[in-house]
Symmetry: C2
Subunit: 205 residues, 2 copies
């Protein structure tokens, strides 16, 4: 499919440029409200003293997420995709080819909240991290295998709510393993910080 | 855009057929895991003695949602959309033109969990109901205005969790009103049943 071929070609170019500039790049995808922004905030809070971070946020509209992350003292760029349900490599190419990257060590991309569309569009990052939370229900992974198939890390977030939400989290873990045996699966709470250090280790930052 | 024009034309045909057969038809859209299936279960549980209900479920894969709803003694049809992030009027047309509708009073359609894609594809139902939950965070409505602009009823679900989740629900209500002053906004819990009778009234069933 033409759109996807062009996307992948541009993604390869993005990857090449980021590696040439020694920039570690990560693409966070996941369900609406699963905690992508909160998790990026948790990571940035812990590493922004040591690394210069740039965050690119993708949303159909508003700059709410970029503004939230900016509170943590890092540069953010908000991309509004309009009617498009995912970021694509052209969006990223536009930023990294026109932004002064000399100061940047790490690039976090927060993709549009969507468990389907981003599977068609890789961005050229070294890892893709898919995020769901226990509040979406235990069938969420089984019902959306594509992003889990192609990701490197899977986060099951909001585990601080396990005592008040009736959910079979071990089914979620086993569903993810079944879909992709190579997945690194990490249970987190972006609110308490539980396992965020473990996530940072998994990103090999 | 050609795809959307064809969709709308077929949606009008669907609408005509459903009205000719005296079938009340409702399209439930909303975020992944917001409670679309649970809400349909709650409604069906209360009306299936009085009305013959058919439920069409849309998901990229699996028949998990159709199987869940079937437990309540109603007919269900699961449509798997593959890579498509929303049902379209052709999916619905295929069902209603090849299914014996003589026994059906009410058609509930559960759309694919997605706050973006369904805004491009009306299905030909008399009402569209958009569902979000407090666990997606208070910015979810502001960040996804399109479905709220075009819906008749907006549900803010999982209010049983208000005492354990820190969220500004009144901001959510006011965001929805700002986007669409004609919206009928209903706060529900599909788990306790709170306001489900109110929702059934709003559907004018
Ligand atoms: N209890 C709990 N709430 C969380 C956690 N992580 C995020 N939240 C809450 O979940 C809601 C959504 O979090 P966000 O960080 O905005 O989620 P998101 O994935 O960035 O959302 P979108 O970008 O809009 O798709 C907010 O109310 C957060 O405070 C967590 O670990 N535990
Ligand atoms: N606490 C609480 N949990 C709820 C409520 N409604 C649904 N849930 C839970 O939320 C999770 C998702 O509910 P579903 O009904 O599967 O949501 P959905 O919108 O149909 O999900 P998809 O079809 O996969 O997009 C499940 O674990 C439900 O039990 C509610 O009112 N309160
Ligand atoms: Mg976000
Ligand atoms: Mg469902």
């Amino acid at each position: 499919e033409d759109l996807i071929e062009n996307n992948d070609r541009l993604a390869a170019q993005n990857s090449k440029l980021l590696r040439k500039k020694n920039i570690r790049a990560f693409d966070f995808v996941g369900a609406i409200g699963a905690g992508k922004t909160a998790i990026i905030e948790s990571i940035v809070e812990r590493i922004s003293n040591e690394y210069k971070v740039l965050v690119i946020n993708g949303d159909v509209t508003t700059r709410i997420d970029a503004d939230r992350i900016e509170q943590y003292g890092v540069k953010t760029i908000q991309i509004n995709t309009g009617r498009e349900c995912a970021l694509n490599s052209y969006h990223i190419s536009q930023v990294i080819n026109h932004y002064d990257l000399s100061e940047i060590d790490i690039l976090f991309i927060e993709n549009v909240g969507n468990l389907i569309c981003p599977s068609d569009f890789i961005l050229g990052t070294e890892k893709r991290i898919v995020i769901v939370s226990i509040t979406e229900g235990e069938w969420v992974i089984e019902k959306h295998p594509m992003l889990f198939k192609m990701s490197d890390i899977a986060i099951i977030n909001k585990i601080d709510l396990l005592d008040v939400i009736d959910v079979n989290i071990e089914k979620m873990v086993s569903d993810a393993k079944k879909i992709n045996p190579n997945l690194n699966i990490i249970k987190t709470s972006a609110i308490t910080g539980e396992n965020i250090p473990k996530l940072i280790k998994a990103l090999e930052i």
